[in-house]
């Protein structure tokens, strides 16, 4: 799966909320998209699914390639037939993502029948298999229960079962573990990893938790202000972060090396879309920023598959010059 050059703007706003974002994940690969709230992660995901209301958002460029097919996102919304079939999504809030009025079994069956034209009985059997596969004990019994009878972790498993019931090629997971407690979080991540290995889908994991990235990610894309500022293999980016924002995020992670030490922070907050600076969008918060940053930096490759959008890469060598 490959997304190229997505540009998206909310109507009535002067700047693009998603600015020339390109993401790619091979099958069997987990791409983690990280960044703080309001950086455009979720909006990108919604655009991929075709879930943004057309009356409030405007996509001016963007192609989505899944398998051999290419879709022009500016013209056709991702066809409904593809949603849930080729490309599926799980959401942040498992507690409210299931229809409270129907048994979970009916909801999973509906998703299956919708796509495959399976009979009721086949769909039920499939739903039961899927529930077992996502690690739900006694699936036949659970199918008959209403969402309110299930715990948060259980509901997220149901959501995953529903998303994967039609063997999608792409799974988009929008912060699937944020609303869950830590032990359940680990279980869900393990589950996603196992399923990825089994099914071989491309996974796009949206998160702001670098721990999750380390746990499950193959590649990472760091977003800031609607742009990808750094991307590459997780190991490479973690060992050698080059964009000042990535470095800031890394140092804001609690580590084991210096217990009790204060965490570094990235000062300030993401500017609102209306107040985005010209050029490098991070420059208002960047400790290294100079006049050169008024020009927009391009994503340039600094190591194998490792790209950074900063004028001063590699930072160690150039930072003295910049001062």
């Amino acid at each position: 799966m490959e997304l190229s050059n997505l540009v998206l703007r909310f109507r009535g706003q002067p700047n693009d909320v998603v600015d020339h974002v390109s993401l790619a994940a091979k099958s069997g690969e987990v791409l983690c998209v990280v960044g703080e709230s309001g950086c455009g992660k979720s909006v990108t995901a919604m655009a991929l699914m075709g879930l943004l209301p057309p009356d409030s958002s405007l996509i001016s460029s963007g192609n989505l390639r899944i398998g051999g097919e290419t879709f022009d996102l500016t013209r056709d919304v991702v066809p409904r037939a593809m949603r849930g079939n080729r490309i599926a999504m799980i959401f942040q809030e498992p507690m409210t993502s299931l229809n409270p009025a129907f048994r979970v079994g009916d909801q999973i069956c509906e998703a299956i029948i919708q796509q495959g034209g399976a009979t009721r009985a086949q769909a039920r059997a499939r739903a039961e298999t899927m529930l077992r596969r996502v690690g739900i004990a006694n699936p036949a019994q659970r199918l008959l229960e209403y969402p309110h009878q299930l715990s948060g972790g259980m509901r997220q498993r149901v959501m995953i079962a529903m998303a994967l019931a039609n063997d999608p090629q792409v799974l988009i997971a929008d912060e699937p573990t944020t609303a869950l407690d830590v032990t359940i979080q680990a279980q869900i991540l393990d589950l996603i990893r196992d399923l990825r290995d089994d099914i071989g889908m491309s996974t796009i994991m949206i998160t702001h938790d670098l721990g999750v990235v380390a746990e499950i990610g193959d590649r990472i894309a760091v977003m800031y202000g609607g742009q990808v500022v750094e991307q590459g293999p997780v190991r490479e980016v973690f060992d050698n972060p080059q964009h000042p924002y990535t470095i800031g995020l890394m140092s804001a992670m609690p580590g084991l090396e210096r217990p009790g030490a204060r965490l570094a922070i990235v000062p300030g907050t993401v500017p609102t879309i209306a107040n985005m600076p010209e050029g490098c969008r991070f420059r208002t918060r960047c400790v290294f920023a100079t006049a050169a940053c008024a020009r927009r930096p391009a994503l340039s490759e600094i190591a194998a598959q490792h790209q950074v959008a900063c004028h001063f890469v590699p930072l160690e060598e150039n930072i003295e010059v910049a001062r």
Binding site: L51, M82, R83, M89, S97, N99, E110, Q114, R124
Partner: protein
Amino acid sequence: MTRTATQAPASNDPVLEARAENRVWKKFRSHKSAMLGGALVVFFILIALAAPLLPIPDPAATDWSAVRKAPSWAHWMGTDEIGRDVMSRLIWGAQASLAAGVVSVGIAVLFGVPLGILAGYFGGWTDAVISRCTEALLAVPFLILAIALAAFLGPSLTNAMIAIGISATPIFVRLTRGQVLSIRQENYIESALAVGLPTPKILSRYVLPNVLPPILVQSTLTIATAIIAEASLSFLGLGQQPPAPSWGSMLNTAKNFLNQAPWMAMWPGVSIFFVVLGFNLLGDGLRDALDPRDH
């Protein structure tokens, strides 16, 4: 949670249905006032249905030797100004009152709910058109509108029901639209879209069932209002036509004899009071019992 684990295979649907009904029924039964309301409603419905079978005099038969007689063994609830048995008229009148309540609310729900769902879900100009029309209707007081429509359609029970139904429709459009607006934002609508369900299915399976509880409550409350409205229309001569009885028309004639024959007004008044109370209590109980989120 006391559920018995069954070994029934997953496809055993009748078992599931029974279980879901049990859950609602159990909650409803523990609700004392709702049971009382339900009992009142059932009582009046049975009385209305059983009217032809009961050993009561013809509600239209006059008896000039027993004009405006107080309640006695011969006439348990007394007689009216031309000697008709009040109890008989009350029982036959229950048919008109209940039918008016149920049918007119049925009309209002049938038109109001789909319009409300369309307006709330699609927004834009669909919403603008539906909402402006609704507001235009709402600008006229409920009873005044019903009277105007009934007068326009011509006096009969059927026309009264239609008039009351149309007058009650805006309430349901507004209520449904508001509910849909909030439900549209729910994550489960988003996830339904994400699994690729088509819009009609989302409307019927995801939106409608979740707006239904408040609509059900509103329906029972509106049935109560509609019964009063029918009584008012009949009171004005726009509803049930003489000599067929209805509680409203009975009150209409009774008002002329309040001093001489208070029982003529009392019984239909008390009946309206209790049937309205019954529907109100029933509505509250149903709301609590049917809400799948609350337990």
